[in-house]
Symmetry: none
Subunit: 252 residues, 2 copies
């Protein structure tokens, strides 16, 4: 028994266009054609369609489905590879989500927080006492809440960005780049954007730190060895400061 393209489409819950597409790419040719080129499908074709749709629903590209079904490829291996792809996508989505959440938080509440987490080797509790003393226990609590709210993924993502930024600075410093050069200024822009993504940073409501905050922070990078070590010591920190100050005066 054979069915028309519409019958098959209804049975399988897809459009007839999809079936013609599958025919076109050779994924599912009809079992035969009648007058006027009308496609008809037998049970074998239906079963093949079911397998196709299952794999498709798993997110596998049609090209991969074709090879798996046609060439008796190692189905398990294909699925494992596909699983890796899916997990990678999920990770990326998770990072994007925490980023968007962070941006939203900054936009909506503009919470108070200080830069201790990322400036101090990523141990955001390391300077708890100092932070508490300087900005109050309340501020610390909120900062801590923000940090924990990021979740493991978000924290890792944030640390990765922080680390990448620090390395870019260090690399540019070691090459003796001019702090006022385009390259250094681009880094400064990234730095400012990064700061702006941290809720509580003065100016983060606008997505970028205030000029005063940025300049003050830049000085601190040089003055405070805990900061300086993240940028290759005093020399590196000096470079960073000069670049940031230059940036702040021009852009902010």
């Amino acid at each position: 028994m054979t069915r028309s393209i519409q019958d098959v489409a209804r049975l399988a819950g897809v459009s007839s266009r999809t079936l013609r597409h599958y025919d076109q790419i050779g994924l599912l040719p009809p079992s035969g054609t009648g007058v006027g080129g009308l496609r008809h499908y037998d049970d074998a074709a239906l079963r093949r369609l079911q397998r196709i749709l299952l794999l498709r629903d798993l997110g596998m590209p049609l090209a991969d489905i074709a090879t798996v079904l046609d060439e008796q490829a190692d189905e398990a291996r294909a699925l494992r590879e596909h699983l890796g792809q899916l997990r990678a996508d999920q990770d990326r989505l998770g990072r994007q989500i925490t980023s968007v959440e962070r941006t939203l938080t900054a936009l909506e509440k503009g919470d108070r927080i200080m830069a201790e987490d990322m400036l101090d080797g990523f141990d955001h509790t390391q300077y708890k006492d100092e932070v508490t003393e300087r900005w109050g226990a309340d501020a610390y609590a909120r900062s801590d809440a923000w940090w924990r709210g990021l979740g493991p993924e978000g924290q890792k993502s944030f640390q990765a960005r922080t680390k990448a930024l620090g390395e870019a600075w260090g690399e540019a410093a070691s090459r003796g780049v001019d702090p006022t050069s385009d390259e250094a200024q681009a880094l400064a822009a990234r730095h400012a954007e990064w700061l702006g993504s941290v809720p509580g940073t003065p100016g983060s409501e606008q997505g970028r730190p205030t000029k005063e905050y940025l300049v003050g922070l830049a000085d601190m990078y040089v003055a405070d060895p805990r900061f300086a070590k993240n940028y290759g010591g005093t020399d590196g920190a000096t470079f960073v400061r000069d670049a940031l100050v230059h940036y702040a005066e021009r852009e902010l």
Copy 2:
């Protein structure tokens, strides 16, 4: 001061093609053009590019970015909507991942037994090579040892039970029985018990398969025609799967 397209591309870490694309769609026109149509970009364009790239990295479509940046749209609202989209994608991915994992589990652990005794007309050596290749000689040897250990009587008995079970499923499926009905659930129980009697089945130590194994297997019945044909094709296999999944969720 203005920069060439390559300068901007390097500074921002994108390709010049991307910049020309952004020009083409009106997202980021160059601040001016020189001889021969050479594009050049000023600082304002660079800042706009930075914002574009930030939003792009958050996974926002270029079209949305354009509206957000140009029409002073509600950025927070746009981000929230985008966040919803991201979360939906993540959910879908999560479901796909668990589905693939289940399918893989069934493929890797289940087929070891099923490939020989049930899927292939009860010729348990027919796919010896395939089994050996996929899961190692050790796995095949153990399965084979179990099978031989049953003796002629035991083997005949097992085959009879297997055959009877398959026929009962097929008969119920053809009558259009509800997978959640008592009748179908009783069959599911028999099926689970049957599985539990096969050494190597996850959970067989307790005499019944684990929930995960049963659900994964159920999916395979639909996905793999070698399984499906034992239950009257895809339709029958779908019925069996639905009944088994329902059973697994309630009983295991």
